[in-house]
Each structure stands twice: as structure tokens, then as C-alpha cells.
Amino acid sequence: MLYRENGQFKSSYRSDQQIFPILQDRIAMVALLVLAVVIVPLIASPYLLTAIFIPFLILALAALGLNILVGYCGQISLGTGAFMAVGAYAAYNVQTRIDGMPLIASLLFGGLASTVLGVLFGVPSLRIKGLYLAVATLAAQFFVDWACLRLGWVTNGSSSGSVSVAGLNVLGLPIESPVQKYLFALVFLAVFALLAKNLVRGAIGREWMAIRDMDVAAAVIGIRPVYAKLTAFAVSSFIVGVAGGLWGFIHLGSWEPAAFNIDRSFQLLFMVIIGGLGSIMGSFFGAAFIVVLPIILDGLPYWFGIPIDTATASHLTFMIFGALIVFFLIVEPHGIARLWSTAKEKLRLWPFPH
């Protein structure tokens, strides 16, 4: 394995400021994109696409958004589900009420709506910290859950409170088949991942992390906590909102508020913790892990003929998640992403450690 940065000298700071300073990483990234864009759609079965890849992509996007808030800015949120819900229902409303509203526009509108709410519930974060903020975000969760069930206009007056979308298309191209949906979600994730990466490695990203690591010191060097925190809430909830729209439109197609309940919020938080707080890559790892693990556990009995009934399997999932959360918090607070990068470090020095 030739993983070396020797001989790759940076002639300018700009080149040193690339996302992937090391050539091999750039190659790997390109390869990965090819894999994701070309190979996966070719080989993956509809099941893999609809039941694993699409949810993975969308939840990874949501986790990415949450990670900006929790991982980079250090503001905990237990109400992510609510922001997804707002994104989904807002997108649904413009989509159904305005004729010929382009799909992407609706989804982005969903994001904006979620941003507004995000900033609104972010305001307490200026005055209250940590644990208290967690409770504030829970308030958002329960309020939105309730509003989506109770306020008729949110669901466009559907008597059951469940809504659904159909005939999705972008500029005439239908978004119906698994492959189309997969690619659609993939594009969103790729674009937002890039934008997010730019933010977190830019000035604003440094402000967020500064607030996270030592808010008083940050204030002293002229960082406005108000601005830093609220932008974090805004960016985060925008991304989460868009993810919510995708979850409703692309993955479920028809949904009820329960699709965005508090369990979703916890699920996303776990993705961020396990994947890696303060790491874009981590959001991907976390999402992949949490999407795939239960499916594998469910599958085990059938694949290996191990006599686990479905109930035990899902209890097991609970226990394993719980244990892993604690494990990572204790052993590797930066989650899988850090394990990954340490592996790379080792690789750089290999075969001569120090």
C-alpha cells in the first residue's frame, strides 16, 4: 500500500488548504465517487438501494447537519426529528399547494422553514447551556410532533393526518425507480457534504469550534457567541430540514408525524456520536453503521440458522447500540472517524513507526 505524503510539497497555502491535501486521498475520493455514482446503481439490487443505500444517504445528510451543531459548535440537540419533520411538511405544503413547484425548490424551502424554527429554538442557547439546552430542544420535538398532528393546514387537511406525494420529477426526469431516487439523494448528500466541509474548515467553522472548546476565550478574541451559535443552528437545521424532506419524499413517499418522532432524534444523535463528533466523514460512518447494524442483526437468524426470534434480535439491537454509545464515549470520543484517521496515520509511517 503506497500511502505517503513524502515528496508532495505544498508550493502555496492555497494548495495546502485543499480538502484532501494528500494525493492518495484525492484518488480514493474520486474512486469512491465513481463507485457511488456508477458501480452501485449497476450492481446493487433494488432492495439494497431502497432499504439500505437511500436511507443511509438521507440519514447521513441529517447526521451531517446535526454534527455541525453538536460536533462542531458543541450545542446538544435532542430535537433533530422535529427539524426533519418541519422540513418534510413544509416541502410537502409548497409541493402540493403550488402547482408545478419544482421538487428541488420545495425541498430547499423545507430547509428554510426548518432554519427559521432552528434559529427560534436556538435563541435559548444564548442564555442556557448544555443540559438545559437539551431540554429546550426536546420542547421543539414535542411541540412539532403535536403541531403536525393537530394543525390541519400542516397536513393539507388530510383527515388521517398522514400525507403522501407522487409523481416526483426534476425537469421532467422522473424520480420513481430506486436508482433514480438513489442518485437524487446522492447528489444532495454530495453537494451538502462539500458545502459543509468548506464551512467547517473556514472562518465560520473555526468560530463554531472556538465556541465549543472555550466560549469565554472565543468571546475575548472577538467572536460573537450569538452569531456563531445562531449560524450553527441555522446551517444545521437547514441541512436537517432538507434531509427531512428527502426522507418523506424520496424514502417513505407517504408519512405521518411518527416518522420524525423522538426516536429519530436519538437515532441521529447516536449516529453522530458513534460516527465521530466534529467530523463530516464521521456522519457518514455513523449513518452507515446505524442503518446497517440492525438489518444484519435481523438477518442473522436466517443467514446462519441461529435460533434468534425477531423480538430478541431487536432487543439485542437496542443493547448493542447502548453499549456502543458508552464504549465510544469512553474509549474514542471522536468515534469511528478518529479510528479511521489513526489508521491512516499509522499507514503514513508504515513500515517505520517513528
Binding site: 432492495y47 431502497t50 402540493t96 403522501s164 443467514w303
Partner: protein, 438 residues
């Protein structure tokens, strides 16, 4: 990303082997969505057990349907929509030809998908009320009843108690409901009825899953309604009964939908639930022949899915019925498309649409007395709307009304309107008579 790719590759590989196992010919595969965990497990479990046992029994007793063995795989949804979708996607890959989501939310999510995948959807006694209109909902089968028929029957029954529907004028009827699509689905009909008969309808939502209902019952206490309809599921039912007792609301005045009238709902309330009434689509108890066969061919062989003493309980028996109808649809389809063949989703759909279970057939199946005859058509995907009220006497359920039936005059037009609205939203056209032949 590497780790992801690896695990996916693994998953894919395993998946492949798995499907390989199930893809052999001469096997009719039934996907079983179930929830044996979470707030709804108490009711989900017996239901799921009934389904499995019936399949096991058919294989053991008759060797399948005309020689076609029946295989199944269960998938835990935990009543969660996204998990349900995942289960559906996974199991459909294994040759599913009919599916029962066991949850209103999942039903909503699957309704669009099944049409594309050509897999019929059985939602016996739940799901989308409008989907009874087979001309629009080609793939949905709310057999034996919907929330609208249920609500309608309850109002009729209460009317009888009062000595005529006209007597309902000025009465107060409260509905304590699970705050979700499941709980809200009956509202249109109840509102319709309250307009017709001039009774006041008081809606009291209970936040899911319904562990904390004090204020709901304080509201009951405040409004002092003449009757309370209970529209709950899972842990909400028993909690409601306990709170009713605690607030001293007469259980005799409480009427539950057929999802709120099973053993788990009343068992640990015991005497507290005495006098509580609920609709029921089917009998319970171990006397029917089909139950006897299950005990004989499955449980006595130590292959029973659940505890033996729960065999024949209300929801268990409902599971049996659902499974039986699914299998009978396959049988019916075979009559047309070839005996001893494995039926596709489309063929089973035809079977479901042309079910003709008269008393004779039911007796032959061992379901005499368990349920009423049922026959579906291209237009009518429900088949029949019979149900009875049963009452808890502190230790067991016993029927306290004869068979009730929903009032077509009210249901039909509502279904039509709702179905047309749906067709409009989804840009569907009603099926032609020709299409009905297919």
C-alpha cells in the same frame, strides 16, 4: 467509507444466499410483518403467533396448498413506519405475493409502493377506509371491515341500546383516541353520524403511545359523556380502562373498536374492566375445529409459536383469519391460473378480489362460527362488514350482541368521495370493467 462498503458487501452476500434458500420453486412465500417489541408488543405478539401457527398447520395438515408448500419470514417492525418499509423491501425480494403490514402507518407508506410492485395489501379491519373501493385501490384489501364500518356499527349499537338512533339526539358521545392516523381515521364517519342524529361528538386525543392519560379522563369526567368510544391500541387500552376505573366512569358505557377488545387490554385490569364492551370481528376460544387442528398439528408437536394457552385468543384468532384469507386467495388464484403452481402477486390479487367464502367453505376450513361468510369483488374489496359486540365479565369475553353490519347507505358515498379525492391527488383513473377481468 471502506467499513461501510465492506459491511454492505457482507449484507449483500448474505442476502443473496438467503434469497437463494427461499427462491426454490413450489413454495409460496408469505412475508410476515410483526411487532413483538415496544409499546404495541402486547397486541402485536398474539396476532403474529396466529399467523405463523396457521401456516405451520396448513403445511403439516395439508402439505400446503395443492402441494405448494408455504414458507414465511417474519420481520420486526416495532410498529415504526420506516422499519416497516425496510422489512417490506427486504421480504418482497424473496417473492412476496401478498402482505399484511399490521400497522396503519406502514399501510399508508406501502399503499403507493405495492401498486408499483404488484403485491396486494391485506389490511383486515384497519388501514385506509376509502381503500374498500377496489376501482381506485386496485391493490388494497381492507377485508371484513374498516375504521369507518367499525365506527358505524358502534353508533348503530349504541342507538339500539337507547332504543333507536333518533334517541341519540342531544346525547354526548366522546371518543378517546390514539393521536395518530389510526385514531383519526374514523372521525369523518363519526362527524357524519353526529350530524345525522344530532349527538355531540367530543374528541379526546391521547398522545401516543398512551401511558399517561390522566387529563384525557379528567376531560371525560368534565364532559360526563353518555358513552365513550375507545380507539386505542397496545398499552393505551389497558391504561384507558384503569383510568376509567380511577375516574369512576362506568365501563358499561365504554365501547372499543375491535383493536381495543382483546385479552391483553383487559387481563391485568381484571374486575376493573368488568362490563367494558368492544367490537369483535371473530370469536375467541379453543373450540373451533381450526384451533383444534393447530393444537393437534402444531402445538402438540412442540412447534407452536407462542404459549399454548394463548391459542384461540381474540387477536390470535384474527391472525389466523388474516392468514387463512391470504392462503385462500392463493387457492382461489390457483383454481384459475393452475393448481399446484406458485402464484404471483398479480394472481393472488385476482384471488383476493374473487374470494367467495360461503358458510360451506368456512365450515370445511374449520372456521364455522368464527367469522361470517365473505365474498369480494372488483368493486368491493371488503367483502363483508359483520362484527359483534363482546363484553368483558372480569375473567373472559362473551358476546352481548348479534351480528351488526355497517350501513351501506352512509359508508358507500363517503368511500366514493374519499376514493375519488385520492384518485385525483394521485392522478389515477377508475378501473374499467375490462380491467376487472384481468
Amino acid at each position: 467509507m471502506k467499513s461501510l462498503m465492506k459491511s454492505l458487501a457482507l449484507a449483500a452476500a448474505l442476502m443473496a444466499t438467503a434469497t437463494g434458500v427461499f427462491a426454490q420453486a413450489k413454495e409460496q412465500f408469505f412475508p410476515l410483518l410483526a411487532y413483538r417489541t415496544g409499546p404495541y408488543a402486547p397486541n402485536g405478539t398474539p396476532w403474529a403467533n396466529g399467523k405463523q401457527d396457521y401456516i405451520k398447520m396448513i403445511n403439516a395438515r395439508d402439505g400446503g396448498v395443492n402441494g405448494v408448500k408455504i414458507t414465511f419470514e417474519e420481520c420486526e417492525t416495532g410498529y415504526a413506519t420506516d422499519k416497516g418499509v425496510e422489512c417490506y423491501e427486504r421480504l418482497k425480494g424473496k417473492g412476496a405475493s401478498v402482505i399484511d403490514p399490521q400497522a396503519t402507518g406502514i399501510t399508508f407508506a406501502l399503499t403507493d409502493k405495492v401498486a408499483a410492485d404488484k403485491i396486494p395489501l391485506i389490511t383486515l379491519g384497519y388501514g385506509l377506509s376509502a381503500s374498500q373501493d377496489g376501482n381506485v385501490f386496485k391493490w388494497n384489501f381492507p377485508l371484513m371491515g374498516s375504521y369507518w364500518t367499525a365506527a358505524d356499527m358502534l353508533i348503530q349499537h349504541i342507538g339500539k341500546k337507547e332504543g333507536g338512533l333518533d334517541k341519540l339526539k342531544g346525547k354526548k358521545i366522546a371518543i378517546v383516541y390514539h393521536d395518530s392516523p389510526f385514531g383519526k381515521e374514523p372521525m369523518p364517519l363519526l362527524e357524519e353520524r353526529s350530524k345525522m342524529h344530532g349527538f355531540e361528538l367530543i374528541k379526546i386525543p391521547v398522545t401516543a403511545p398512551g401511558v399517561e392519560q390522566k387529563s384525557a379522563w379528567l376531560q371525560v369526567r368534565q364532559n360526563r359523556p353518555d358513552y365513550v368510544l375507545l380507539w386505542g391500541w397496545g398499552v393505551m387500552n389497558s391504561t384507558a380502562l384503569k383510568e376509567a376505573q380511577a375516574t369512576g366512569y362506568p365501563r358499561e358505557k365504554m365501547y372499543g373498536v375491535w383493536w381495543s377488545g382483546a385479552e391483553p387490554d383487559v387481563k391485568d385490569v381484571g374486575d376493573g374492566a368488568k362490563g367494558y364492551n368492544a367490537l369483535n370481528l371473530n370469536t375467541s376460544g379453543q373450540s373451533p375445529k381450526v384451533i383444534q387442528d393447530i393444537l393437534k398439528y402444531v402445538h402438540d408437536k412442540g412447534q407452536g409459536t407462542g404459549p399454548k394457552d394463548e391459542v384461540g385468543s381474540v387477536l390470535y384468532t384474527r391472525g389466523l383469519i388474516i392468514q387463512m384469507l391470504g392462503i385462500e386467495a392463493v387457492r382461489r388464484a390457483q383454481e384459475r391460473f393452475g393448481k399446484g403452481k406458485v402464484m404471483t402477486g398479480e394472481q393472488v390479487r385476482w384471488g383476493l378480489e374473487n374470494l367467495a367464502l360461503d358458510q360451506k367453505k368456512l365450515d370445511a376450513l374449520g372456521f364455522s362460527g368464527v367469522m361470517r361468510p365473505l365474498s369480494t369483488s372488483c368493486q368491493d374489496h371488503m367483502g363483508s362488514t359483520w362484527a359483534r359486540v363482546h363484553t368483558w365479565d372480569g375473567s373472559k369475553w362473551s358476546f352481548t350482541s348479534d351480528w351488526l353490519q355497517a350501513d351501506e347507505q352512509i359508508i358507500k358515498p363517503m368511500v366514493k368521495v374519499a376514493a375519488d379525492k385520492y384518485a385525483g391527488e394521485k392522478k389515477l383513473t377508475r378501473r374499467t370493467p375490462a380491467d376487472c377481468q384481468s
